[in-house]
Symmetry: C2
Amino acid sequence: MSTYRHNIPETGKPRIVIIGGGFGGLNFLKRLRNNDYQVVLFDRYNYHTFQPLLYQVATAGLEPDSVAGPLRKMIRKKDDWHFRMLRVDRVDPEQQEIHTAAGRLHYDYLVIATGSKMNYFNNASIARNAYPLKQVTHALDLRHTIFQQFERLEILARKKGKIRENLNFVVVGAGPTGVEICGALAELKKHVLPKDYPELDIGCMHIYLVEGLGQVLPAMSEASGKKAQQYLERFGVKVILNCMTESYDGKTVQLSNGEKITANTLVWAAGVQPNLPRGIPADYTGKSGLRVNIYNQVSNADGKSILENIFAIGDAAFLQTEKYEQGLPGLAPVAIQQGKHLAKNMIRAARGKSLKPFHYVNKGVMATIGRNKAVADLPMNIRFSGLAGWTTWMLVHLLYLVGFRNKTIVFTNWFWNYVTYDRGIRLIIRPSPKSRDLISRELMNEMKTDNE
Amino acid sequence: MSTYRHNIPETGKPRIVIIGGGFGGLNFLKRLRNNDYQVVLFDRYNYHTFQPLLYQVATAGLEPDSVAGPLRKMIRKKDDWHFRMLRVDRVDPEQQEIHTAAGRLHYDYLVIATGSKMNYFNNASIARNAYPLKQVTHALDLRHTIFQQFERLEILARKKGKIRENLNFVVVGAGPTGVEICGALAELKKHVLPKDYPELDIGCMHIYLVEGLGQVLPAMSEASGKKAQQYLERFGVKVILNCMTESYDGKTVQLSNGEKITANTLVWAAGVQPNLPRGIPADYTGKSGLRVNIYNQVSNADGKSILENIFAIGDAAFLQTEKYEQGLPGLAPVAIQQGKHLAKNMIRAARGKSLKPFHYVNKGVMATIGRNKAVADLPMNIRFSGLAGWTTWMLVHLLYLVGFRNKTIVFTNWFWNYVTYDRGIRLIIRPSPKSRDLISRELMNEMKTDNE
């Protein structure tokens, strides 16, 4: 380990290190309006990703700039706020330091907001061949794959049988992401692909949605699940419930019910796991993230040993409450609320006041299934669907998008797509071999030379 | 060579094969409104690229979808028009066939609209280390490199000397692309970077524009060149004229005047060469493309041997006229006019009428240098610059963009960037390792199996 330390200035203020600029980290920063702390944000990317709309990037409805916001724009609001585009590899609670490729940094408070990553449940064939949908790069990969596939099939179009099989899509996991990507694929099938590829028999394209549990949208009400399934089936999506996906070699999907489906593309939306830095002892790790108490402080199972200056929020945190014995759900609103609440607590702490406990307010869950169709479960058993649900879904998503620019661009695109039944951006822009990764080994080497 | 032939249906109509969906190919298609021909368009990409605005993609002013338009949208206008996303490797004038990785195709008429590619003049060190700016992928590479570099330097910011040198940019070639990228970099330096990277001394960032000839914008009038140079220098760009770039090892630029410049990024905008498929005999190749007569038919030097059914337009063509002894300039308007003219001639031919000769109408040349500044040389020695030039530049570029969607999105972005002095999309989205290239070897192998 290099002895290099980060070049963050010592300003005398207590230092808050935040790992991750997702919903949790970003909303923590938004609400932390005081000047009592030095803030250092670390992220692998220089942008925040609005994950709920990634499926639209994957299906050519939106461009990356619509769902991503530059993190530095948030950081530059305060003089003593800093950003470093680096992955945090390790946390050292003893030394109160984080470790990165560019050296270590001391923290007074640490906010772990590292979110989640794909969980393939140790299935190597799926991990190798499936398309995930968690980052902007995943969405672009999936988009390029979808459209390249059609270009390729049109070149091969003589071989009818072969094409029929290759046109299939399998989506595993019927949570909101799985349902929404199925809806978007069905829309492409209905409105865009037949016009773009008249030589292919797009009617042969089948979209399968495979879910291990007994209903579509298993985290929502049975009524909404049924409704969503109805919408999907009316759209031509084949829903397979109570069924596990056993393997996928890139061509054939083997299901636990014995069925085999030939498909060129499998989208994996069946599970995530917390994306934690190393270094926090195992006692502090719960079922789906770092155990936290009601102040979002990392603590062990019986809640007696508390790492008082280490907080975890969002998907990285595992908070059990009376109502949520399995932990709070892995939803954006949980991360947003925890981020905002923690910021308020940090402001209170700076003023010598005691921390306030966190209470999650369930504002409802929604999923959209293509044009004019959505389901929403709101608190107090209010449910709605169809056009009303869809309008609400749109407004809520526009509202939560990062900035005014993103809102404008997304709205323009949606309006365009809605009116024309088209997708403006079915572009296959493959990466060029010349792109260099400047922050990595090269940097580490420079750091080493620097210390010799 | 596989014996596979393309699966383009035989409809009894004469077949026009177009290679390339750039300005020439696209405008040929736009104007070819009759149904007398079968049309097959080949392109490596599934989109048209509006190259004059690539520099804005590179400097985070626009996203790729703004400067690219899906080619299939154009193709789907007619029943017997077809698109294949394939590179054409070779033309066989004897057999009237084109060769691709997926087999051969017979043509009755061939339109070679393959444009140009970078010309490094056999300088290996520059070819390896410079950033070109000719394709969307180039623009994205350059953007990622620019912003990754600043992220990296902020991590290293302790080492002042090192940073000062690494902040430099060298742009080689003072044509419109070179001038415009310098202007855009200068704008980033002035309005965006100091706010985003407060820990870096952005004042140390230098932008060099190196030109082999004696003036900025050598293809424009001396007055406009002087004006542009003035604008650039007022913006802090260091203009070096009458100077060749001898080598670049990725760190140091060696100039022919003996000077060395340390720079992390060198943008090569110093020359292009025609991007021709193989197979046309050398007699038909001129100084900068396939020799064509006034009907855009490929012909040899004395104009006596004519390939009557092979046309070349745009940067792929070399058309000498009395006024343009060195051939028509490599400008978008030339390609657009040739494409439209050729389409009209093809319609005439279908009606049994004789071909009409092509006359290039010079509508002027323009270049913009950042906010509110541009120079324009119009016919009849009309010149203007400053805000008037800039407004004209904007309107003309909006007008020529492919579709209404692109116009709307570009306008929204420009308006946003103009009002806020900001760049919405300084996102570093690196390619993911999982992206697969589906149309290539794999396809060729399938084709082979198919014929065994």
